[in-house]
């Protein structure tokens, strides 16, 4: 458990240091994930060992957004009188983006003849 956590934190650290050193426009943990993926590809046995720790953390991914969500409640008044319009824009645009991306994916997959499994 502690060993797994050390590996995970180590990759995050490596990611954070790399994006700063190279000035990349992606978050450190995302690059850390890419490094971690490379390790798993090179050492497949490691995936089985760390699987339960990773899946345990991801099963409750929702929990990790709660503190930021509480922060939003305090800042919602900074939107001022625009709050209603902003909310409508966000809801409509989110629906439009989900529909557009899902069809872009499925229609391309269909054109390529790849069946979903």
């Amino acid at each position: 458990m502690i060993g797994h956590l050390t590996v995970i934190l180590g990759f995050q650290l490596l990611g954070e240091v790399s994006v700063r050193a190279l000035g990349l426009p992606i978050p450190g943990p995302v690059l850390g994930m890419v490094y971690f993926l490379l390790l798993l590809i090179l050492r497949p046995s490691f995936a089985n060992a760390i699987k339960s720790t990773a899946q345990g953390l991801l099963a409750h991914l929702s929990l990790l957004f709660v503190p930021a969500g509480v922060g939003v409640v305090g800042h919602i008044q900074t939107l001022g009188s625009d709050v209603g319009v902003i909310l409508i824009s966000i809801i409509l645009s989110t629906i439009a983006a989900i529909v557009a991306s899902v069809y872009a994916f499925t229609l391309t997959a269909k054109l390529m003849g790849g069946a979903d499994d």
Binding site: L37, P67, V72, T78, I86, I91, A96
Partner: protein, 237 residues
């Protein structure tokens, strides 16, 4: 006997109370979510946030005091992101076979997200800093805040819009995609991660591992796509 005032003084100066409260509020939200038969509308994040915001208001606790405890939970977002490598590795073949559909969606999705958000808000008369802050709303918060700052928006305002977009996507995705009769969980997950970043990805993992994996890839890829697309789309406004 120590009176309540002394106990409260201790509790409000230590991270223990609000850390426990964050976990407890999430457990309430998650239990309601499960009791509902895992309905997307009963979003555990929204329930926990509502409970905690209410508690902070009732006890006149400032957010800084709350975050002193909650930061331990917030910190785990980084390690959790790194952990996305595990389901990605386990589903690598499936992801590899979907590269082309993902690339097409990666152009269409962020373009739609940025274009419609700016278009709709502009039509309603939103201008300036608020409009600019809205552009990167579908991207994971740290990247969105960086994009916002670089184009003249307000990072704080963007963070608020990012979270609202995440919760919206997590709530609407399942009923919306069911209504469209989309049964391909690669496409469903990817679309939700692309549009609603981490909160959408969390929802996708509640549905199944394929959806969660593709959502994680969508979230990561969109961080890069939107950083490139936003300055291009803004030249239209």
């Amino acid at each position: 006997m120590t009176d309540f005032q002394d106990i409260w003084t201790y509790l409000s100066s230590e991270p223990l109370l609000w850390l426990t409260a964050t976990l407890a509020a999430y457990i309430v939200g998650d239990s309601l979510f499960r009791a509902s038969g895992k309905k997307a509308v009963v979003n555990p994040v929204l329930i926990a946030v509502t409970l905690l915001a209410g508690a902070l208001m009732l006890t006149s606790t400032p957010y800084e005091t709350y975050f002193d405890g909650a930061k331990f939970v917030h910190f785990m977002l980084g390690p959790a992101t790194v952990c996305l490598a595990v389901p990605l590795y386990l589903n690598l073949q499936k992801v590899g076979k979907s590269i082309i559909p993902m690339l097409v969606a990666l152009i269409v999705g962020p373009l739609t997200a940025v274009g419609t958000a700016l278009g709709i808000a502009y039509a309603f008369g939103i201008r300036g800093e608020v409009l600019l802050s809205l552009a990167p709303k579908s991207v994971t918060a740290p990247v969105a805040m960086g994009i916002s700052e670089s184009i003249g928006g307000s990072p704080t305002l963007t963070a608020v819009m990012v979270i609202l977009t995440g919760i919206t996507g997590a709530i609407v995705c399942t009923p919306l995609l069911n209504a469209l009769k989309i049964t391909d969980y690669r496409a469903r997950g990817f679309a939700v991660g692309l549009t609603s970043h981490g909160i959408g990805t969390a929802r996708a993992f509640q549905v199944n591992e394929t959806a969660g994996t593709f959502a994680g890839v969508g979230m990561g890829a969109n961080a890069l796509a939107t950083a490139i697309l936003v300055p291009l789309v803004l030249t239209l406004f």
